[in-house]
């Protein structure tokens, strides 16, 4: 009896095998030499199988590329996202804020001075010079010191470029306006429409965002990413938005940027002739630069944005809106006030980690708050909070078989540190994530084939700004149970050294009651005995990891680190907590595995290590 073809096969060999099995099963077949590779029949079956394989792969790929979840080519992911009204973020220009003082005189005729658009400063990062420009005019008036003081002048990295198009007479010409520059930061795009080539007067068209205010005469443009990664500008049809007329001139003006390569610039040199500032002071280093949005990011954000429908109602809505509209955001956490500790009903909390910086500047927070204000549900308000960083560091001891590697001890140790950095980047660079101790050990074991086993003792620290706590009581949560008993003699906390009353002091703690320990500062005398300097600077609850500081005085006001050890090896980053691994502070020790190297004879020399030091 004839066998059925297996139509689900994709693999050439399997298809061929299926064909041969089918032909073999046919009764009274005229041709029978399917099995012999040199036969003409086998050659013919090769062609049939190849054709089937080709069509199957083509159909499979075409179906895969038709869905947002499975598409692999960027152009197809973008096309699917476009159906959800999602435009991927282009490359983004980093910007810095500078405070600039221009010397003036009481005799100045005008009482105001303008730093014009396109004023330029330069900065060097890793030996490469980047230009930063203003895109708006900035004006300041003469102050009492006969100076023009400009605070927070925004400079974008890159150069201003423009492309022009003449609109053809016939609207049916399918004319396309494509901005052929992949370095174009679309968030800075300005679309100008001139009546003709002989006039300098123009109308500015704005980007389409919502149907609510769209009319036939609205000066709006639509933008989308093309299949080759550029951007296409489209205009209305006199029903939704105004259509340009023949001979109109369209000018696309934008900043061409280097993206994230120009982040973190701190030292700037004035590079605009005709103006000589007295001083340029850094207000905010350059941040916000990023490469164009990745395929995976588009895949994640497009459905969320669609669900949000321009309104901030659920947590996902807020995340989608911020992801789409707030370019500076790198990672985002949003939670309702009811989940906050303590609960604050009617508020939505938002924590944002920007690109290449730890926290948003105050101007960035205001910008974000204003952005969300228009989308909030009435009666709720948004509170922007900084990410709370908890840094993890370890004592890592691993056993290795020196016969299985050409690397020396220090080279393997360096590789393990690199593994830590990669783990941090891949697993922890997000909110609401769990640090899984066993996963880290697995990654360490896989670092090199010679590594047999590993042990990691987990420690944590947070940064405490003494300047911020000099006058006010502060709650300082570790958000995990600390390793130690309430009544133990040794301190659960320790800190960096800082100065009080001229003494070098550290932070320690002792039993206060059945739940809490009192925190104090101490110095060491010549016999290294602890002498308390300030006997009470707050309380510590080991069970919750919460610390309540009273105002702490200190001679200088540095940022110090507060060290402890968590009771669990696994940690969760809730709400606005971000876990970061400090690989530089981590101690990595490589120890030869004597049993692996020498067999049973090595057992006598085998050293084991305690869970805790």
């Amino acid at each position: 009896m004839a066998t059925q073809f297996n139509v689900t096969e994709l693999d050439f060999d399997k298809i061929k095998e299926s064909l041969i099995t089918h032909f073999k099963s046919l009764p009274n077949s005229k041709y029978e030499d399917y099995d012999f590779e040199g036969s003409g029949l086998n050659t013919l079956i090769d062609i049939l199988a190849y054709n089937t394989h080709y069509n199957a792969i083509h159909a499979h790929t075409a179906i895969n590329e038709s869905f947002l979840d499975s598409a692999q080519l960027r152009q197809n992911v973008v096309a699917r996202a476009k159906l959800l009204s999602y435009i991927p973020k282009s490359i983004l220009s980093p910007y810095c804020l500078l405070d600039i003082v221009i010397p003036g005189s009481a005799n100045d005729e005008a009482s105001a001075f303008t730093i014009p658009a396109l004023s330029k400063v330069t900065s060097k990062i890793d030996g490469k010079t980047f230009s930063f420009i203003t895109i708006d005019d900035h004006e300041a008036t003469l102050d009492a010191n006969n100076e023009y003081v400009f605070s927070g002048v925004k400079f974008y990295e890159g150069v201003l470029k423009s492309q022009r198009f003449i609109v053809r007479e016939h609207s049916q010409s399918n004319q396309q306006y494509i901005l052929k520059d992949r370095t174009a930061d679309i968030s800075t795009l300005k679309v100008k429409l001139f009546d003709n080539d002989n006039t300098n007067n123009y109308n500015v068209y704005s980007r389409f965002t919502s149907f609510s205010s769209l009319e036939a005469t609205s000066n709006i443009y639509f933008i989308s990413e093309t299949s080759d990664g550029n951007h296409q500008i489209e205009f209305g049809n006199n029903v939704y938005g105004k259509e340009p007329l023949g001979q109109n001139i369209i000018e696309l003006e934008y900043i061409s940027t280097s993206g994230d390569a120009a982040n973190n610039a701190t030292v700037f040199t004035w590079a605009t002739s005709g103006i000589t500032p007295k001083s340029i002071t850094l207000n905010t280093k350059s941040t916000g630069g990023a490469q164009r949005e990745s395929i995976e990011s588009v895949r994640f954000n497009a459905p969320l944005t669609y669900i949000a429908q321009e309104r901030g109602v659920t947590v996902d809505d807020y995340m989608a809106l911020i992801n789409r509209d707030y370019e500076a955001a790198n990672i985002i956490s949003v939670w309702g006030g009811e989940d906050n500790v303590p609960p604050r009903y009617g508020e939505v909390f938002v924590a944002v980690k920007p690109h290449n910086a730890e926290t948003l500047s105050s101007s960035q927070k205001l910008e974000l708050k204003n952005l969300l204000k228009a989308k909030n549900v009435a009666s709720t308000s948004t509170t922007i909070v900084d990410p709370e960083y908890t840094y993890l560091y370890f004592e890592i001891i691993f056993k290795y078989n020196s016969n299985q590697t050409t690397l020396n001890k220090s080279e393997i140790q360096t590789q393990v540190k690199d593994t830590l950095r990669t783990f941090n980047l891949e697993e922890l660079e997000k909110f609401n994530v769990v640090f899984r101790h066993s996963n880290l050990l697995s990654k360490i074991d896989l670092t090199d084939i010679s590594i047999i086993s590993s042990l990691a003792r987990v420690y944590a620290y947070k940064k405490l700004d003494l300047d911020a706590v000099k006058n006010i009581s502060t709650t300082f949560p570790f958000n995990f149970q600390l390793d130690g008993e309430v009544d133990q003699v040794d301190s659960i906390l320790t800190s960096d050294v800082f100065k009080q009353n001229g003494f070098n002091v550290r932070i320690g703690d002792e039993k206060l009651n059945s739940d809490e320990r009192r925190i104090y500062t101490y110095r060491l005398d010549s016999q290294r005995n602890e002498i308390k300097v300030d006997p009470n600077i707050g309380t510590l609850t080991p069970l919750t990891g919460e610390i309540n500081f009273t105002p702490i005085f200190s001679d200088t006001r540095p940022i110090i680190k507060l060290y402890t050890s968590p009771s669990s090896n696994d940690l969760i980053a809730k709400r606005n907590t971000l876990l970061q691994i400090d690989a530089d502070k981590t101690i990595v020790v490589a120890d030869k595995d004597t049993v692996s190297i020498s067999g049973p004879a090595g057992a006598n020399d085998y050293i084991t290590y305690n869970r805790q030091d």
Partner: protein, 142 residues
């Protein structure tokens, strides 16, 4: 045709029963039935042997090692080494891919006045006592 299996069956069945049957590589049509002709038994093996020798590596889809490299050898100098290489290639491809032919003997005859080699292959097939022989021409086509 004299072979082992026909000795063991009666003549009418022997006439209809085939051990091997293949399509002709030139896709020739039977003059009466207008159907594709059938290449049978020893002829099928001979066609297969010739096919294998004339197939280049990478020619058959997903089977890059199926075939021989004799076409490439036609561009080498016409000397004893090249002839030996051609012979080795033919031995190898038949041994690896044609289980029906054994006792293979290959003769590469110089035909240099026509820029070609004549290939003569002798082999045994499992169902016949007679030694089989096939001969074809290897010639550069460019």
């Amino acid at each position: 045709m004299s072979n082992n299996f026909s000795d063991n069956v009666n003549s009418s069945r022997a006439a209809s029963k085939r051990i091997y049957s293949d399509i002709p590589m030139n896709l020739s049509i039977h003059p009466n039935t207008k159907d594709l002709t059938v290449v049978k038994d020893i002829d099928a093996v001979k066609v297969s042997v010739k096919n294998l020798v004339m197939t280049n590596f990478m020619e058959r889809p997903f089977q890059p090692t199926l075939g021989s490299g004799v076409t490439g050898l036609l561009f080498e100098n016409n000397d004893a080494f090249t002839k030996e290489s051609i012979k080795d290639e033919i031995y190898r491809v038949i041994k690896e891919h044609e289980s029906r032919a054994n006792g293979v003997q290959v003769e590469v005859i110089d035909n240099s006045e026509r820029n070609a080699y004549t290939i003569n292959i002798k082999f045994n097939v499992i169902f016949s006592n007679q030694r089989q022989e096939t001969e074809f021409y290897l010639e550069r086509i460019r």
